[in-house]
Amino acid sequence: MPAEWFKKGVIGRIKSSKGKIPEGLWIRCENCKELVYKKEVERKGKVCPKCHYHFRISASERLEMLMDKESFVEHDANLSPLDPLKFKDSKRYTDRIKEMQKRTGVKDAVVCGEGTIGGYPVEIAVFEFGFMGGSMGSVVGEKVTRSIERSREKGIPLIIVSCSGGARMQESPLSLFQMAKTCAALARLSEAGVPYISLLADPTTGGVSASFSLLGDIILSEPKALIGFAGPRVIEDTIKQKLPEGFQRAEFLMEHGFIDMIVDRENLKPTMIKILSLFTTKEERKKDAAA
């Protein structure tokens, strides 16, 4: 995967204008624009060693980082989008889907399944931003809902890692109502007393932020992630003024009381384990250890 994400341009692309850079060794940070040694970036969990910028990562990279080795079993990988609106702008939606599936290797913008983190079993859904900006249509909504329902049936904690621009325009009303569907499933999860931890990655906006993402029992975010209902450009166009520095970033949301903590990627797994352990009783831990 690492060699691939470089080619795909998932993380900072080299602008060759500044001279010859040996391909594959150095990359330019999207945030501070410095050239940084790729291996060092990878060692830090795809974080810029100079400015601490957290590069956007794919769902599979996230899972590799977070889940115990070989513990992850994917569910619902065979769900694939259709084109119920027969949507066409400059391109047909069906063509976009095909292109995205080829590019990302997944059928839609979320990967769901079950596995363990530090030995704790969890149900997890991770957004794939590379697939149409992580946007939520019928497939994403259905898969997230199924994850929530599985978590409830099995009584194991739910983790959703959001990284999405919001609801998908190409399935307009169907996308919109996925927000209601996922929230309804979360209400049932809550009544069953199963914990839900939401992790927000850059960006989490629109219909995803305005549904399950901001309803976690505990909400974590990566540093500087853009989190908000309306996109910054839409707001600027509406109010006709420039937005203040840091507006809608994770730090801003924490200050305003909407998230619990900002976690560096290298501390993410230990933090998750600590939180998961708090929701487990001594007896359950003993039982897990015995098993």
Partner: protein, 323 residues
């Protein structure tokens, strides 16, 4: 009543109406018999309206849905809710006038909670109502009143008509996303019947936050979309001028939403749209609400909640293969 605000495609209709009125005035003042002529014109007018309205494009429907003389939430409330007591404020921050909420008696019979987006009439009121675009405190007020209704077993009627939640600094600071999300979550399990009436613009998450319920009734010229046609066009076509194409592509009409399994019923409007005869539009809506409330109020609450959940659960179109 003459129409003050005329849409482009309505011009010939309004022109014809004016002619008929003129003819009548002439007839009154003289001995010329205009009866036959006016009758002929009136027939022609009716046909004209029927023709125009039977083949509205999605974009034309968007304009009807946004018509400034269309009945708004308070018009419906005044139309069939007696003893209405408006309730103000979210008890957290302030009162958001772009959402109206309160208790009253449905047709003078039993207490219900009514909650809806409220657009203004004219510039001054529109500024006060923020053009029907709520901030988080509006959604929190709505939720507060829904919880009140739940506590006392009052059914909830919502009216949906907003361009969207307001995209601004304050709204983001106070948690626009969280406020909308929480409404979706709580409405899915509110232990009283909820009838949702989509009466104008169903704009994105800001509309959805009042749209979770047991029955979704949508007026035939109302629209519903994930983003405004202008917004969609400026992203996908890179210019807002392609809004008509975007409206078409996004399948915004009541008929589309019925076919996609999102709404339960299309509510008829008077010939030529609700703005041409608001009283009739209100009365048709009242009957639809009455019928649905009657059915829902007869159901045990557990059944109500299960059906509400299953209905949401079933929304979505995808393929699931074995491989």
């Amino acid at each position: 009543m003459p129409q003050q605000f005329v849409l482009d495609f309505e011009r010939p209709i309004v022109e014809m109406e004016r002619k008929i009125i003129e003819l009548r005035t002439i007839g009154e003042g003289s001995r010329i018999n205009v009866e036959e002529e006016t009758q002929k014109l009136s027939k022609k007018l009716k046909r004209m309206i029927r023709d125009t309205y039977s083949k509205l494009s999605p974009w034309e429907r968007v304009q009807v849905a946004r018509h400034p003389q269309r009945p708004y939430t308070l018009d419906y409330i005044n139309g069939f809710i007696t003893d209405f007591v408006e309730l103000r404020g979210d008890r957290r921050f302030r009162d958001d006038k772009s959402i109206v909420a309160g208790l009253g008696r449905f047709e003078g019979r039993f207490t219900v909670a009514c909650i809806g987006h409220q657009k203004g009439r004219g510039t001054r009121e529109n500024i006060e109502r923020n053009f029907g675009m709520p901030h988080p405190e509006g959604y929190r007020k709505a939720l507060r009143v829904m919880k009140l209704a739940e506590k006392f077993g009052f059914p909830v009627i919502t009216f949906v008509d907003t361009p969207g939640a307001y995209p601004g600094i304050g709204g983001e600071e106070r948690g626009q996303s969280e406020a909308i999300a929480l409404n979706l979550y709580e409405m899915s399990r509110l232990r009283v019947p909820i009838v949702v009436c989509i009466t104008g613009e169903g704009g994105s998450g800001g509309a959805l936050a009042l749209s979770v319920g047991d029955r979704l009734l949508m007026q035939e010229n109302a629209i519903y979309a994930v983003i405004s046609p202008e917004g969609c066009a400026s992203i996908l076509w890179r210019t807002a001028e392609k809004a008509p194409q975007a409206a078409e592509a996004m399948k915004v009409t009541a008929k589309d939403l019925m076919e996609l399994g999102i709404i339960d019923e299309i509510v008829k409007e008077p010939l030529g749209g609700a703005h041409r005869d608001p009283d009739r539009a209100i009365s048709i809506m009242k009957r639809a609400i009455r019928r649905n409330l009657k059915e829902l109020m007869a159901k045990p609450v557990e059944q109500l909640l299960e059906e509400r959940y299953q209905k949401l659960r079933g929304i979505g179109v995808y393929s699931e293969s074995d491989t």
